[in-house]
Subunit: 207 residues, 4 copies
């Protein structure tokens, strides 16, 4: 939402004839294609994939990739932000509902996402490029929702008193890594068990 692309104010556009509009639609389609392709390839092969490969698979020239994403880092961040935004949308929906255990739903969902698509993991882990610096708002948005849901669960006695939202986020990143390490990508039951153990860790020690 607050992260729209830098768009040259379509209303005021000096060239409002048909062809320009068509091109812009094309451009957007290309951008989308590159983004999607990059997401897949980053997920499958890691950050090592070359931009040429991404361009080839997206069916565009390398120059086109560059026009939309001026550097590899920019593309990587765009992919990450894209994924985060989806999570934020889910978090918002859960926050709108009244379930006190919604944090667990959200966290499970995050873990599952990460298990399937390790780019989310990378996105959150932000190991190589700094997502928090580049797109502070989305990250903040997500943390905000997690905080809200966490507080709600705490009030209901469903999570330990001493655990913070930051730590919970870190644990999600940890769950990704754990699932990945156990090669449990493809075994949802096993991935769920590992994620479950970590979630159990944030539950209160029962009396």
């Amino acid at each position: 939402m607050s992260h729209q692309l830098p768009e040259p104010i379509p209303a005021e556009s000096p060239a409002a004839h048909g062809t320009a509009r068509a091109l812009r639609a094309d451009a957007r389609r290309n951008r989308e294609r590159v983004l999607r392709t990059a997401q897949q390839l980053f997920a499958q092969e890691g950050l090592g994939v070359s931009l040429d490969e991404i361009a080839r698979r997206a069916g565009v020239g390398p120059g086109t990739v560059h026009r939309h994403f001026p550097s590899k880092e920019a593309l990587y961040l765009a992919v990450s932000i894209d994924q985060l935004e989806r999570l934020v949308a889910e978090a918002a929906a859960l926050a709108a509902g009244g379930d006190p255990a919604a944090v667990f739903t959200l966290l499970s969902r995050m873990m599952a996402d990460g298990a399937e698509n390790s780019t989310v993991k990378s996105a959150l882990t932000a190991a190589e490029f700094d997502l928090r610096t580049a797109a502070p708002e989305v990250a903040t948005d997500l943390t905000g929702y997690v905080t809200e849901l966490l507080d709600r669960a705490r009030t209901a006695g469903l999570v330990r008193d001493d655990v913070t939202a930051d730590e919970v986020m870190a644990l999600v990143a940890g769950a990704f890594a754990a699932i990945r390490h156990a090669d449990a990508h493809a075994d949802p039951a096993r991935a769920a068990r590992i994620g479950g153990i970590i979630l159990d860790g944030i539950r209160p020690r029962s009396r």
Copy 2:
């Protein structure tokens, strides 16, 4: 005969103290230096660091790195194995003692190591190069000790019945990632808290 150590007229030698007996020691020192430098740089910057950079920082030529470690993978594996071997040694010591809670000690130690030096994490995660293939014995040894200590703890009722050694190892890898994600490398207390939450997850739900 012709291969005797070339002793430059021992009587007249200007430096007759112990330090003179180097050479092969020098080679070993270089190897050690490269290994240590690589450990640091891999930990700090990831596998992306160039061998030339490692050589430069170790104060040797690129060829020297190559002499000791004929490929980047070989160097990486050497670093990983080196670290694993230390863990195995610790695990052995703990197994020799009788503490039923020794798993927790070992796991805490592993997590702390990983927090300080994410190469251990990489070593365990073995994402890029396959450690399990290259040095199966060390990895097996470690798993063996973990299994032993885990069983002992289970017998004492200190861990859940349903958790396996593989999962525990995966959780350690997850803890590394979580600690790293929380930027808690440098904050031992925080790292300990995060690690603690994960360890709590493998404890039995108390009665």
Copy 3:
């Protein structure tokens, strides 16, 4: 549609003359330049020349060489095949004519080529990389024509009965080496004399 040639408003185009239609022509020119430079340098210095040197002398970057010829072997083969194809064309033309002595014309021509440009020699010698494997058709074509012309000459009593096409080819390679060894590259008369001696060897002992 979206992939049409981007014609920058043809009506207003400042340069509407023929010369503007380059680009792909540029690429082809570069390819040609690299090929020619490689031919020369391989001929002068052997396969030892570095690709960087070839690039430098062709006035392009090393990457450009790589784009057109993905490996040194590929470049070498391209050079060789290029030369062979010219020979095959000549052989075809000679085969089309009716001269029973055409073999000698062809062989002389091959020797002269080799004298000027020892890459042909390398191409035929195929010492380092295997041309016969990589481009079997061209090599086969050439041998085919030689066989045909040789048979024709034999029928006319112009060559010994016992000499085969393979041996003739080998002798051509030998002539290259002989001419090269005598430093007769630049002295056509001398090169011709040496080549002539070898050709005389395949003529029947007269009676």
Copy 4:
């Protein structure tokens, strides 16, 4: 003979005690070993072989190779000269006999040598390093004998009037290449046939 190694005048040697003599014998044995190994490897693999490989196979350290042959070129030239010297010896023996056809014997022998051991070929071809510059005397010696034997054969009407010793040498180099090209190294009969054709070329056209 005139090409003996630079030997520090044994008679005047300041250190004439036993150990020095023993060591010198060792050194000579090493030199011989390296030379022989280099000969083999150059012949089998070409100039591409590394000095380390030569050292390893000769059972000495790389430093030892360097002590005897200060550069790769020096080693290569030493190998070549060594081979040439053997040819010169043979040529001298043939010149001492009275056979007018001795040139053919010598040339056949040279071709056979080259077929078996392409270093001789390289030595004569002197493609990469310039043998004629580095060791003019041996080359001159050989050419001298060839000239002598050639003249004698010419007088006896066994060779064409117009062929020179230089050309004959070049043809020998050509024969090496031809034999090599025909893959006839291992097929002496075939190699002989190819060599024979070339020799026939220098015979007078029979009346």
